[in-house]
Symmetry: C2
């Protein structure tokens, strides 16, 4: 059994494009080729914390994967708030194949790759400016990845924290992009036609009246029933509404909130894997408003751990 | 983070009595001090296999535990059919503390310890002979452990397989016990007043008419809805009926089958932790028939991993 720590995994993954593997995984999922039971959860009160267990397999694959990911709001600055590992087992024997002690790195990467997979399907042809909500790690990853796939060097990032915005801007200072920062959501909506929301917000940051024709929004911050980044009326207004998992979006994320208010019918959303496979319609004109709701599915963890294991083996060979 | 393999764990656990820790865990569980979500499960068709994820914590403990245990019916004699690991995390930060790659050793041990905890409460004062159903690993462990706590050197083991019985007998050849083997369940029932069933049977091995007054039976083979070792009428006939987990026994194990047939009322069973704590009645006379149904609860995994971690630290210090 291979045991790899975060530094090894980071090094092995350098320069690797994991978007194709993530796309394949979404297709397999939408075609019923994946076994993904409901997420296991442990919650803690003092200090507040939660551990999620996501697990499953793609039928016929060599492995199955169990991911354990935690977030704790403790007060010790020397201990990270996040912990994460992906455990891989042989699908024919149950024997452990690998323990990827990634500390959440692979989860962040697979989420970034999902953002790219969505943008490939739904971003308008000419991206005027990329708008990022949230100046954290996932906001950075999204911008980094999207700059590579969109021929666009204009970007703006929104946060409530001036400090976080400064740090974000600093990190992109060597990139050949024109990066602005703002505290005003409307400035993002008015100047961007590719927007990604990556915050832990529990009430909408964007309202329907702000959203211009031709805009695409990927909402990936909301992965629980309590989190919400978009006004449900935006989902009503959308011409194309895509979910990473139709079943999971019934109980968490933006689609869940829109269904609850009755502003959309369950039949409105299509599944990302079907859009990628050409079995459901994505964007068909530059005028359309498109929304993708990403709540995170275990097939992404399966896909990224397979990529990581191959990369680690390649590195050591 | 400590990573320990089976050989290290076996060595560290030598001579350690883990029954008190298991007893404490059952008490904590019955007193509502444990958070134990439903078991996570992945099943596989070719070859047939299953992986179970048992997880939880005792409120106020230092750790929480996630156990991953698999059984695969593959055809490769070089690969074990079972795999297992217990992962320990800090309850205040979520950081990984230890990975006990025990390959199922600790699960077998905590089940054996539960058998002893039950016998301490429910076995008759004078054990005439110990009867074991099933000549596998758990049957051996049960006999080994029970010989230590009961002043009895008579035992009989039942199996359908003559080969398994020979191997079983061979393993105990150096012990000062009179060990018989049999293919006849009635011989066990007629001569033993402490019986432990450890088989994967899916239909009853023992019928109610066989069971004499004063007998205690611990049924621990049945941990799923499809497995069953006892005629439900035995549970009806019992004076004392104990479950490791009342909630879990509603949906799996012997009590589940007896409830389904309507032969017992849900109120008949009491919980092991309450018997140990003196809050529910155990055996009160040598004439009573007592039955314990053990389906396996995550608190046992929590308890045994704490014992193992302490033993490993002790060993390395």
């Amino acid at each position: 059994m291979l045991i790899a720590h975060q530094a090894q995994i980071r090094k092995a993954m350098e320069g690797i494009d994991c978007v194709p593997a993530i796309e394949e995984a979404f297709v397999a999922y939408s075609q019923g080729q994946a076994v993904v039971p409901p997420v296991g959860e442990l919650t803690f009160k003092e200090p507040p914390g939660a551990t999620h267990i996501k697990y499953g397999y793609i039928i016929g694959d060599a492995c199955y994967v169990i991911k354990i990911a935690s977030t704790f709001h403790h007060q010790d600055p020397k201990v990270p708030a996040h912990e994460g590992m992906m455990l891989m087992f042989d699908q024919k024997t149950g024997q452990a194949m690998a323990m990827l002690l990634d500390g959440g790195f692979l989860t962040a990467l697979r989420t970034a790759a999902a953002g790219v997979a969505v943008a490939r399907q739904l971003a308008p042809k000419n991206v005027q400016r990329i708008g990022i909500f949230g100046a954290g790690k996932q906001g950075r990853l999204q911008l980094n990845h999207l700059l590579r796939v969109c021929k666009c060097s204009e970007a703006i990032v929104w946060s409530r924290s001036a400090h976080a915005l400064d740090a974000f801007k600093q990190e992109f200072s060597n990139e050949r992009i024109n990066l602005k920062t703002t505290h005003d959501p409307e400035e993002v909506a008015a100047t961007c036609n590719l927007i990604v929301t990556t915050t832990p917000a529990t009430s909408p940051l964007l309202s329907a009246s702000m959203i211009r024709r031709g805009t695409h929004i990927t909402a990936l911050g909301s992965d629980t029933p309590s989190k919400q980044e978009l006004d449900p009326a935006i989902l009503q207004k959308a011409d194309v509404l895509v979910a990473d998992s139709l079943s999971q979006c019934q109980s968490r994320g933006e689609i869940y909130h829109a269904l609850k208010t009755g502003l959309i019918e369950p039949g409105k959303a299509v599944e990302l894997g079907n859009v990628i496979a050409g079995k459901a319609s994505g964007r068909s004109s530059d005028e359309q408003i498109t929304i993708a709701d990403l709540t995170g599915v275990a097939v992404q963890d399966i896909a990224i751990s397979k990529v990581a294991l191959a990369a680690l083996k390649e590195q050591s060979s």
